[in-house]
Subunit: 395 residues, 2 copies
């Protein structure tokens, strides 16, 4: 037998990169319960349960709310291919890698794409978006990323929604890294289309993209001149399965079991409590990082995500060596930067099941060890003390 | 708490419908081993392993051979959106529901779609395809379904490949229900694009679509005038991840673990042995059905799939009541027919882990009981004896 057929024993990693994060043990168990067919009455009930709990987690009453059978990038594609037709105009609020990807997919839809540029590591702000949208006759949609995974910046949604709706445009929001971790209110903030992923703050396996469309967005879909070029992501076709129980494709049953359990955990904890947990844990980690003498890539404290932190790599330190030490010696994954900042930052996630005090102290002390190995001088004990202070103040 | 948050305890079904089939226990275990990040060196090795074993199972040396992060319908979309550009011409060999879907997706690609129609329940034959292709100046591709899941008919691939290549066209093959169950030789039969699903003869969870592109097909992709409208399914983009280790999307890690284990089982058994197993089990089941006095929907024995059988429902029998009895009293799933024959046939799968003698006898005797409940007269003991005869003759 060749080596590719060897038994596989993956090392037990603590996944503190940009995602995936570790899966909750209850979710893993749920994923392996007895398989049902995708048309089994018992499984159709699961689909109803998942839709009901997704509405709670998204804080929406949108009827069209379910998991698309693809990863977060698939959800991004589903959002855009349903809304856009060739010749439509879309504005992209671009403050990082994933906003850039929104633009690329919109171009492939045949749309006219205009970008409002923001410095990486900053938030999207409404003034520039208002200035840009005023230049165009008819803008069908504005797209933005709530939590930019490439930088760790969070943007306020409601001000951008107001700009969009003042100009008769829809607002499309990427919530891949925010959903289930930080405050997100689809109905209150008047978001028209929002998609996420399961492998970040929901602590489920990667492979599904929860998505929601407002009635206003569904109206746009129903008024299309021609069907979207994607059959797989066509929300009107998917509705035939998720709500009318007609076959469309074979749902990824086990992943939907997993998502059901992940959402049960959200409901048990309470979504607001979950947001608060991510806030405290993230602030504690960031306090520890700063006390260590390191900088945070997002300069404005108001723009910092708690659940994903970009840490600046000191000039004297080799970013890859630190990541290698953490992975190989401590079984801890940090992500590198994306694109131009690949070797300039580490991206550290504290998401879902992983967002707890133990992991904050584990990560800070492991990073201290890695930096000491590179002769980077640290104030002894300051980092953990700073994190501890945040936790005790939050009680 | 609302009922949608109840603990979920699915009944232990024997999945003998058109798919999904039951997951092999080793595959279930593999799916829950420690999660790795999608850029972890240990996980990149898993991607290599899966590609190597897929090549064995597909009997191909195609470099571009990996699992697309979507279900079989996603694989169908990936096949078509990469090959077709607006204005291209494609011929669809239509002998059932899934061939019809190929046509629908091709239309959404902006292609000129011509169909060669065959009676449902019959195989695709080369003479009519040759006659149709000769009418057109330049046909980019012919598409066909190897194992038509809606009817249980199998078509010979090589004769259609010859027609395609004689006219400079690519051959696209849907192998969702055949891959890993019946003979399929990508290189020997000169298939250019082939996609499948994991939830049928591979005994893995639904959610991935193994796909392979020949060098000739990749040449067509590289010569496109513009990129495909799908970013998610763009094979040139996916190659950057599967072979060049650059981020494209977060792979569905657990499903790829599952597929790796499913493919290990294929390699351990030997792909030819696996084909032989499905043949014997399917023939035994079909012999039992005929001995029961029921008809097979596919009339020509040479056109019958062993792993998916469409059984004709006798006039005096209520098709849905029988399925309900099997599901609720015996925990066995049969599928209804699709489309016009919904209440005229049952579709019975014996795929992957489920393709074994025990399930043949379980299903035949359960069906006998269901028919007896409806006062359908059966020759006592004939069905099981006929199946037993096939098994003993195969030894």
């Amino acid at each position: 037998m060749d080596s590719f057929t060897n038994e596989f024993n993956p090392p037990p990693r603590l996944l503190m990169g940009a995602g995936p994060s570790n899966i909750h043990p209850r979710v893993l168990s749920a994923m392996t319960t007895s398989l049902l067919g995708h048309m089994d009455p018992d499984f159709l009930q699961v689909l109803d349960d998942v839709q009901a709990m997704l509405r709670i987690a998204f804080k929406t009453s949108n009827e069209v709310t379910w998991p698309v059978s693809a990863t977060g990038t698939g959800g991004m594609e589903a959002a855009l291919v349903n809304v856009l037709e060739p010749g439509d105009t879309i504005l992209i609020c671009e403050n990082g890698y994933f906003a850039n990807r929104l633009g690329e997919i919109a171009l492939r839809c045949g749309a006219n794409v205009y970008k409002v540029q923001f410095e990486p590591g900053t938030a999207v702000t409404p003034e520039q978006v208002e200035a840009e949208i005023s230049k165009h006759d008819s803008v069908k949609a504005i797209a933005m990323v709530h939590a930019e995974t490439s930088t760790g910046a969070v943007s306020q949604i409601l001000p951008i929604a107001n700009v969009a709706h003042d100009h008769g445009a829809l607002l499309i929001v990427d919530a891949v890294t925010s959903f289930g971790g930080i405050e997100l209110r689809i109905d209150d903030w008047e978001v028209d289309v929002c998609y996420s992923g399961t492998q970040k703050c929901l602590a489920c396996p990667p492979g599904l993209s929860p998505i929601t469309f407002s009635p206003r967005a569904m109206q746009v879909l129903e008024n299309r001149n021609r069907p979207t070029h994607s059959f797989y992501f066509d929300m009107t076709q998917l509705r035939s399965y998720f709500q009318m129980r007609a076959y469309h494709h074979t749902a990824p049953i086990n992943q939907i079991y997993a998502l059901r359990e992940g959402l049960r955990l959200v409901v048990e904890e309470g979504i607001e409590n979950r947001w608060a947990r991510h806030q405290v844990v993230g602030k504690a980690f960031q306090a520890g990082i700063e006390a260590m003498g390191l900088g945070l890539y997002v300069k404005n404290p108001n723009d910092r995500l708690p659940n994903l932190t970009s840490v600046e790599v000191p000039d004297s330190v080799n970013a890859s060596s630190v990541r290698k030490f953490l992975l190989e010696e401590r079984n801890i994954e940090f992500s590198s930067g994306l694109g131009a900042v690949a070797e300039k930052v580490w991206r550290v996630g504290l998401m879902g099941y992983n967002a707890n005090p133990s992991n904050v102290f584990t990560a800070l002390s492991a990073l201290e060890d890695a930096l000491s190995n590179q002769s980077f001088e640290l104030p002894v004990g300051a980092s953990l003390a700073a994190a501890r202070r945040v936790f005790s103040e939050s009680n």
